[in-house]
């Protein structure tokens, strides 16, 4: 919307000042927990509980980070989260980009009903599959493994990934495929050398969306993983908090480590991150 609406009374006015004050206070509220986490991740108890609960640390205690990463196992949890999240992203992207090609571009009778079938998946709560998947994993002796998380995360990421890919694919002009057909390309050649390269921005969106889902998921991670060897950050942080109940510094450091990758991605491409999370809502 343009500035015209608001700038009729340009210059200073009480309501305008008040509005900026409120916007500023909201910004502080949104950012404060992050700042506070950063500051106490570098303090010792005597400082947090003593005279300086909110200010910057008087001495920057990087040793909190080494205790969290080493004694607290956060380094291991971090690697597990990276493995699970990366595998989920790769599987989801491959499976969904293939399926959405068939669902948006190819010609067959069941196309429409299949589309609606997958869209249904968007509304299914994780709860509904928790116990059955747990029992399947138990029967297959796959509880406490990376696959125990990767496969369900992929399944639940597919409906949204399909929605995102389909949006991008339906905007590709038909002439590209027609020209390729005249040149005698096979359907696989069309898909791999014409469609896939055009999907790069969509893959980025799907990657971000899936990253946030897998990196932050808790319910399945709590139930399917009890062995510290396979714990991801969300469950790991819970164990860390149990281990350091009275020492806040290392917990803060663990929380920072879990959050930094997300913050880096967000600071590099905040627009893309925002889009990836609202795209489903706007189209669905």
């Amino acid at each position: 919307m343009s500035d015209i609406v608001q700038d009729r009374s340009s210059g200073f006015s009480i309501s305008k000042t008040l509005m900026y004050a409120v916007l500023f206070i909201v910004a502080v509220i949104q950012l404060f927990p992050l700042y506070w986490m950063f500051s106490f991740s570098l303090k010792d108890n005597s400082e947090i509980f003593g005279g300086n609960p909110i200010g910057l640390p008087s001495k920057w205690l990087w040793s909190n980070y080494s205790s969290a990463l080493l004694q607290g196992n956060v380094g291991k949890y971090f690697m597990n989260s990276v493995i699970v999240t990366a595998a989920t992203i790769i599987l989801t992207s491959i499976i969904a980009v293939m399926a959405s090609y068939a669902l948006t571009r190819m010609v067959f009778k069941l196309r429409k009903p299949l589309n609606s079938f997958f869209v249904l998946g968007l509304t299914v709560p994780l709860h509904s599959a928790l116990l059955p998947i747990f029992i399947m994993l138990r029967n297959l002796k796959m509880v406490n493994s990376y696959w125990a998380l990767i496969v369900p995360y992929t399944a639940f990421a597919i409906p949204m990934a399909l929605l995102i890919f389909s949006g991008f694919m339906s905007s590709i002009p038909r002439e590209m495929e027609e020209a390729a057909c005249i040149d005698g390309c096979s359907i696989y050649k069309i898909f791999f050398s014409i469609i896939l390269p055009l999907m790069k921005p969509a893959i980025a969106t799907v990657t971000i969306f899936t990253f946030l889902q897998a990196w932050n998921e808790l319910m399945y991670a709590v139930v399917f993983i009890s062995d510290a060897k396979y714990k991801t950050l969300t469950v790991g942080i819970q164990s860390l908090a149990g281990q350091y109940t009275t020492e806040w510094g290392p917990i803060g450091a663990g929380l920072m480590v879990a959050t930094i990758p997300t913050l880096i991605i967000y600071s590099i491409m905040s627009k893309k991150v925002q889009d990836s999370l609202v795209v489903g809502a706007v189209k669905g």
Partner: protein, 294 residues
């Protein structure tokens, strides 16, 4: 010729097969299994006994489940009537073109992308009775008598648990609405300005009515999100003290994995699916009705 290539049956199967296997195997079949388990009394080992709808009857007469279901509904209500109005007000203010508009949108959105476990751990420290900054703040401004155990106090645990949940997603709904407002043609607003309409008037009479489809989505997300809530409650209180902050998600997990009542817990899972489905339809109907009334 294109149709022949694009109608290649083998290729269609090749492209769709992996997605169908994963989707059916891990979403559709499990829902069917949950429904099947919910009709049994089963401890998770050996064979269960078929008991028809007994588990569902049990839910209604289980005071803890009723409390959990009511708590989830309270959260849904609070999300719609506290969270969404804040989001809407922020979206309307930002979209009219303020200084630092883009940066403010970016900042307001940050809590959405942070892991709920991290948010939960942080709020646990904010609420800490001895060293938490909430009590420190209350003492500093002379309201020390209001300082409390927050999460440990059965009277306050529910509100203390719901505040972070509502706070975390304010930015999400704000962004949805902000994007919605930005997609309305500027001509509409320019016409309003020429007519001398104030910002408030324009918002109430033009922007909000035009934003209805987005608001519909927001309300559905807020309601179903509230019914599905698990993470923050699990981290902050685990549903306690004495089930004061119990929600269906936490009660289901403890019923199944601590109480070994697999059948009974499955009935809760099915209840959540049906509840989400029913309320989504209800919300959409309400929105449609309002539109027709105009």
């Amino acid at each position: 010729m294109v149709d022949r290539v694009l109608g290649n049956k083998k290729a269609i199967v090749f492209f769709l097969f992996p997605a169908l296997v994963v989707f059916i195997g891990l979403i559709i079949i499990p829902i069917a299994m949950s429904t099947y388990y919910s009709l049994q009394e089963w401890s998770g080992f050996g064979k269960g006994t078929f008991i028809g709808l007994q588990n569902y009857k049990g839910l209604l007469s289980d005071p803890i489940f009723v409390k959990a279901a009511v708590n989830s509904l309270i959260l849904a209500f609070a999300s719609v009537f506290i969270q969404l109005p804040i989001s809407l007000l922020l979206a309307l203010t930002l979209a009219k073109g303020v200084k630092f508009e883009k940066s403010l949108v970016t900042i307001y959105f940050i809590p959405v992308i942070i892991s709920t476990v991290v948010i939960g751990q942080l709020w646990m420290k904010i609420y800490n009775p001895d060293y938490g900054i909430l009590n420190l703040l209350l003492k500093a401004i002379g309201l020390g008598s209001f300082a409390s155990e927050w999460l440990g106090d059965p009277k306050r645990a529910l509100a203390a648990t719901f505040i972070p949940i509502i706070w975390q997603y304010i930015g999400y709904h704000m962004l949805l609405m902000y994007a919605g407002i930005k997609s309305i043609s500027t001509d509409v607003f320019e016409a309003a300005v020429i007519d001398g309409s104030s910002w408030w008037n324009t918002s109430m009479k033009i922007t909000i009515p035009m934003l209805k489809p987005v608001l519909n989505v927001s309300v559905i997300f807020a309601v179903t999100g509230a019914l599905k809530v698990f993470d923050l409650v699990y981290v902050l209180t685990g549903g306690g003290p004495a089930h004061a902050s119990e929600v269906i998600g936490t009660y289901m997990v403890s019923t199944i994995f601590k109480g070994n009542q697999y059948g009974y817990g499955s009935a809760m899972a099915v209840f959540v699916i049906l509840e989400c489905f029913a309320l989504s339809i209800l919300v959409s109907l309400l929105f449609r009705e309002k539109e027709e009334a105009k």
